[in-house]
Each structure stands twice: as structure tokens, then as C-alpha cells.
Symmetry: C2
């Protein structure tokens, strides 16, 4: 019987690991809670009605149709047993493995305030995106039917919490919708009077970027009509709005559409792994891995992607933490696959080394900031050219030829018409 | 103050009525429970993962953006008052009207067996389509994880109840998915072993068609791999399957994916109208209208589309019932709008006359049946040419240039690759 490789999760890390084993003499099982691989960097476009879900979500088993050593299963892993080398699914089924790659990703963290969740959805899954889309569009619909000016103003106030890439993208696109997509379609309200706020706890947005690009991003957001509130701490969220504390004192913002883009927590499978193997979790619940991405004392279990607290080991340099971005997850996926092959051949495994190709974030219709590492040193630019670069980089990495083409078409259309075609609110 | 025209429902009838009033000196309010106009003839493609929802659903207010005398509202009408000329919305709001067009459409009817509904969803809304898509795809996913041969066979049994156009389209596409889209993507099951059954209570499918075309449709379905059961009466549906009675006696079909395409009932607003005006309802709950589509004694209320039990009044001919198809609804919408203008000018209204351009139904990848009325007599054909005709007719009538283009692209892609791109199962 060939070695059984089980991969939990088919995000960027899991997908890449399975693909890297395409020629290996192993049986691979990929199990995921959903039936699709999601191109998460464009999920904010689904949430803001610019793209339809199938444009960024490819059926997992379709992606593996030609890779005959992969079996795709739909299911949720709830427990891991390192002794018997099995995992237990939610419906009680058991799956056996010889090599396990855990790539279960991350979810939102409300920093212990889970009661905020129903009032401020985060953006990790397609269902999250549909919920945000529904709230944004419903706020305008309800405002059109509201006669009371105060309640109408509250309906037209949109708050994004968290100034990372997702928060910046969402806030910029909300402003674009209010300023460019919807005007002319309402008779009682002027969508341009909508107020979009981006609330960030630190002194600048896009913390992973150099300071100059953060400042450019803030300027571009402001030019789009987004009010950026820095050094602002959220102290409460309820069905009517949220409470802030800034240098100017406490403040109350009324809003029926609050989006949470502030905190990330590792998948609960991290806890399950710790129970099974005694491995260490970091503060965010991520699994602390060995240099080769395996668990201490469990060389046949590897953890990759957002669930891993991993270090990059470049020769002659200090280990550095790997950022939680998709290139990191993909590179870990390839490293984990290579290390399985090495172990099967009896060779020593290699430590993970992260190649940082840079950092991009888009801000709205034609602005973005780009920070690239090149052999000649960092290349940093912003504005229209950065936006074009961002656009083609994202479309290039989209899974599957058809999706790339469809997404480009959708964007070309949206660009010329300001139209956002995916404005369907599913009924309740 | 200009006359207030209120249109309830923005399906084919309501949309057409509002458009026909574009140059009129009236204020039009279009109210709908959803935010989109749905191109229902292609809804089965969303249910079978061939098209994404935004391809066939255009935001209603976007369609009316340039028609300045239309205000679009999202809301559900629950009561109508003919005395005070108001309607009441679900949230208690009141809307005033001088002229009312009720175009609230139809819903499923389980012939008094509403307990069947959760086990056999119908196909009227986008949410219905998502639910059917989820059930079809989940059945294959669960079969891939099922070891018991009997349970696996039950999971791979798909039953469509009702041999009208929707039932025929769904059954044909299910067979296509099993035979052409999914093979190669599973490792433990062979999707080609799926059994697709079409259950019809009468002696032939597509009853609205001439007998010869019904027979051709049955042959084409059989060639695609659909088992057509005629003269089969459904006596029970539960979570595990359905019970039938045929000439051969009672039969039990195990299935986890049953779709109801058998019965149509008028919207509950028909009952509300009867309460308000004393108008007559027919057996299906449809409102019996005067020749000019108004209600007896209430000339300023008109009922159109699937909610109306209307007659076609051609000069020198007996009145004939209008079929429940989209051209009928559109023509009634234009007639109702014209009659409002006539009443405003003090002219007599004209009776509704239905122009029957024919009848189409598609059966699968390249079969269809077409029955056209031409001045030279009926033109009837089937097969590949009929399919091309069906394709272009549907794409031509799709709302909005972009949608037409996207749908054609999607079909060109699906045609060459057998791929169905919209195979996303949203999480629960």
C-alpha cells in the first residue's frame, strides 16, 4: 500500500502541497469543509458586488481532476490522533494517514468580544462575503425607504474596523460604490452622502508596508472620500453602531453596516493539534513549528499557512517570522511536500525559507501601493501604475484560465461603466 | 400632484408595465420583495451550476436608473385597501396609489401536501436555485464518502417531479452533469452511474406542445440517459425518497435530491385582493380579470402575469385563456400600461389580446423542441437546430447587454469544455 498523505484544508497552502506531490508515489487525500478553493485576495470584490462567487471559487475536485493520486473529500476534521494516525470527521468518520499536512487556515478574532460578531461580520469565506454584500446593499435600500433624517444618516454610515489590506480595500470600494456606482439609481436619497469610515487602532494603515506607502494609502483613501480614523480603539459594537476611543475622547458612530477586518485567529484545529501532540500555540492560537514545518517529536505532521507560526531560515541570517500572506502559504505547501518526499527517501528534511516578493494593496478604482523586493533593492510605487500592477498580478495568480478571463472582463466592464454587476441580494 | 402608479412585483409583467409608462406624466413606484429582476427562463441553469446568479439577475433600480419617473422600493406588500387606495407593507409602512398593477407572480403548489416542500424544493427564486444546486452537488459529494452500496445508489438517484419545461430542462441537465461534467473528478464513485428520473402524472411531457414534439422530447431525454416515467402519480415524499403509483402498481424511489416542478399556485396577494375587492379567484388562486385586465368594479386595479386568470380577446374569435409564460406577462404589462394612459385621457380601455409566438423547451446539451406560430402556419422542429434557436432566443431576451454577453461566453465555454463553472456550495 502506498503511503497515505492527508491534507486538511484546500487554501493556498493545501492546494500547493497536493500539487507538489503530483508525481509522487503516494495516495493523497485532500479534505476541506467547502467544495471550493477560494482565491481570497479577491474576496472583497465579491463582498462589494464587483465579482460573482464562481469567478473566484473553483471546485476543488475540478482542480485535481487530472491528478490521479488525489482524492478530494468534503468534510470537517474535528480531532486528530497522532498515535493511531487518524483524524475524526464531524460526522464520526475516521481517515487514516501516514503523513499529515494541516493547512486549516485562520478565522476572525474579536479579541475575546465574540458578542460583537453578529454586528460586525468578518471576511474569510464566501458566506461572509454574501453577508457583507447583503448588509451594504440593504443599507442603501432601507435608507431609500426611511423618512427620518437621523435614521437615514445612520443607515448611510459604513464602518470598516482594521486598516490592513482587507480593511483598506473594503473601505475604498465602499466609497467607490457610494460615489460612482449608485448615484442616479435612487430617487429619495443621494448615495454620495454616504459616509465611509476606516477605523485603525495604530498610527497608520497597512502596517506591513513602509511608512511612506502607508501615508500614500491614507491620502488615496481620503481622496476617495473615506474618513480614516487612526489611533482609534473600538470599545463596543452593537446592533446600532460602535463605540470608539480616540485622542479626542470617546465617540459613538451609528451604523447598520460594520465590517470587521481587524483580528485574525488560527483555526480551532490548532487547539486539537496541541491536545494530540502537546505542541506549543502562540498568542493567536497558531502552531509553533520546527524549522522544517513539522511538529517537535512528530516528524510526520506538518503545519503550514495561516495556522503555522513559522520562521524563515535563510542561510547566514537570523530566523524571521513568515507573514500571513498567500505567497507564504504556497511556499510552505511546496516545502512540506518536498520534505515528505525526502523522508520517504530517507533523506534529511530542509528548513523552510520564505522568499519575499513584496507586498501590494489596492485602494479603489485606480490606486494601489506596491512594495517589491528586487535584487537591486526595494521598488516602491503607488497610484495608477501600482493599480495596474496589482490588477495583473492578481488576475495572473487566479486559478484556472477561465476565471482569469472572466475576472478581467468583469473589471474592464466595471471600469468603463462604474457598474457592479453582482448586486444580487438573496432572499431570506 | 401627478397620478401615482404603483406596480407590485418586478418580474416580466411589472418591468414591462413600468417601461411602457416611461414617457407618461405619472409617478411610478415599483415595489418588489427582492432587489433584482430575475430572468426566470434561465433559472434552471443557476440551479445546475451552469450560470452564476448575477448573469440572470439584474438589480431592479439599475434597470430603471434612466427612467426618472420610476422609484424602486424593496419591500413586501401584505395587504391592499381599495377604498383608501393604499397598500400595507410587511413592516407596517403604507403606500398610496391612484392606479395599481398587481404583478406578484406565482409560487409552488404541492397540491395541499405542504409537508413535501422541505424534501422537494421548487424552482422560482434564486434561493430555490441555490438550494437545488447545493442538493445536487452534495449528493455526489456524499456518495464519494459513502461505503455502503445501497446508500450510495440512493444518493446517486435524482428525481424531478413534473414534465413541463422546467422539469424537462432540469432532468436533461442533471443527466448531462452526471454523464459529461463530473466523470473524472471522483475516485470512488462513477458519476455516470447516477440515475435521473423524470416523473410526470400525464401521458406525455411538455403538454403545451403538439404531441409529436412531446414524443421527440421524450426520445431526446431518454437518449441523454433520463428515465421518463409517464402516468405516474406521486403519493408521498419524505427525507429518504418518494412514493409513486403507476400502471404497474406502487413504487418506492430512494433519493436525497428530489426537485418539484409540478404545481404552480398564484401569489398569496391574490387572496389579499379578493379580500379587498371581492374579486373571484380560480382554482389555482389566480385573480379572474375583466377583458381589459382590471377588476370588476375596480377599474383602477389591474392584475397581470402569472397572478391573473386572463383571456385573450382577438376580434371575431372566442376568448382563449392566456398561458402562464413570459411573453404573456410582458404583453399584459404593456396592455395594463396602455389602459392606464387611456383612462387618464378619458378614453375607453382596450381588451387584452395575446400574440402567441410559439413555444420552446430545451432538453440538454444540444436538443430542444420548437413550436412557432408563423403567418404560413405552425413551424415545428426539434434537435440541434432547435437548440441553437432556443439559445439565441433566450440570450436575445436577456436583460441588459452585459448579461447577454456573459451568458453567451459562459455557454460557449461550457459547450467546448463540458465544464460548469458555478459549482460553489455555500457553507452552512
Amino acid at each position: 500500500m502506498r503511503p497515505q498523505v492527508l491534507i486538511i484544508g484546500c487554501g493556498f497552502g493545501g492546494l500547493e502541497a497536493a500539487r507538489a506531490l503530483r508525481a509522487a508515489d503516494v495516495d493523497i487525500t485532500v479534505i476541506d469543509r467547502t467544495n471550493h478553493h477560494l482565491f481570497q485576495p479577491l474576496l472583497y470584490q465579491v463582498a462589494t458586488a464587483g465579482l460573482s462567487a464562481p469567478s473566484i471559487a473553483a471546485p476543488t475536485r475540478h482542480l485535481f481532476r487530472a491528478q490521479r493520486n488525489v482524492t478530494t473529500l468534503l468534510g470537517e476534521v474535528v480531532a486528530i490522533d497522532a498515535q493511531s494516525r487518524t483524524v475524526t470527521l464531524k460526522d464520526g468518520a475516521l481517515l487514516r494517514w501516514d503523513h499529515l499536512i494541516v493547512a486549516a487556515g485562520a478565522t476572525h478574532s474579536y479579541f475575546g468580544r465574540d458578542e460583537w460578531a453578529p454586528h460586525a461580520p468578518g471576511l474569510k469565506t464566501l458566506d461572509d462575503a454574501f453577508e457583507i454584500r447583503r448588509r451594504v446593499l440593504m443599507a442603501f435600500e432601507m435608507a431609500e425607504r426611511e423618512d427620518d433624517p437621523a435614521r437615514r444618516a445612520a443607515l448611510l454610515q459604513f464602518v470598516v474596523v482594521g486598516g490592513g489590506p482587507t480593511g483598506v480595500e473594503l473601505a475604498g470600494t465602499f466609497a467607490e460604490i457610494a460615489r460612482h456606482t449608485l448615484p442616479g439609481e435612487f430617487r429619495r436619497i443621494d448615495p454620495r452622502q454616504a459616509r465611509v469610515l476606516l477605523v485603525e487602532g495604530n498610527a497608520r494603515v497597512l502596517q506591513a508596508m513602509p511608512e511612506r506607502l502607508s501615508e500614500r494609502a491614507r491620502e488615496q483613501l481620503t481622496a476617495l472620500g473615506v474618513e480614516v480614523k487612526l489611533n482609534a480603539r473600538v470599545t463596543g459594537i452593537d446592533a446600532e453602531g460602535l463605540d470608539l476611543t480616540t485622542a479626542a475622547g470617546p465617540e459613538r458612530l451609528l451604523s447598520r453596516c460594520i465590517v470587521w477586518a481587524a483580528g485574525v485567529a488560527a483555526s480551532p484545529l490548532g487547539r486539537a493539534l496541541a491536545d494530540a501532540t502537546g505542541c506549543t500555540l502562540d498568542r493567536a492560537g497558531r502552531v509553533v513549528v520546527e524549522p522544517d514545518l513539522s511538529l517537535a517529536g512528530h516528524p510526520n505532521i506538518q503545519v503550514i499557512g495561516d495556522l503555522a507560526s513559522a520562521q524563515s531560515h535563510a542561510p547566514g541570517k537570523e530566523p524571521r517570522p513568515v507573514p500571513g500572506v498567500s505567497p507564504g502559504a504556497k511556499q510552505m505547501g511546496r516545502c512540506a511536500a518536498a520534505n515528505i518526499l525526502k523522508r520517504l527517501r530517507g533523506q534529511p528534511t530542509t528548513p523552510f525559507r520564505y522568499s519575499d516578493y513584496g507586498n501590494l494593496a489596492t485602494i479603489g478604482r485606480h490606486s494601489a501601493v506596491v512594495d517589491l523586493g528586487t535584487p537591486a533593492g526595494p521598488l516602491r510605487f503607488s497610484g495608477y501604475l501600482a493599480w495596474l500592477f496589482w490588477l495583473f498580478a492578481h488576475v495572473y495568480f487566479l486559478i484556472g484560465f477561465r476565471n482569469r478571463f472572466v475576472v478581467l472582463m468583469d473589471w474592464a466592464w466595471a471600469y468603463w461603466t462604474h457598474d457592479r454587476h453582482a448586486r444580487v441580494i438573496a432572499q431570506k
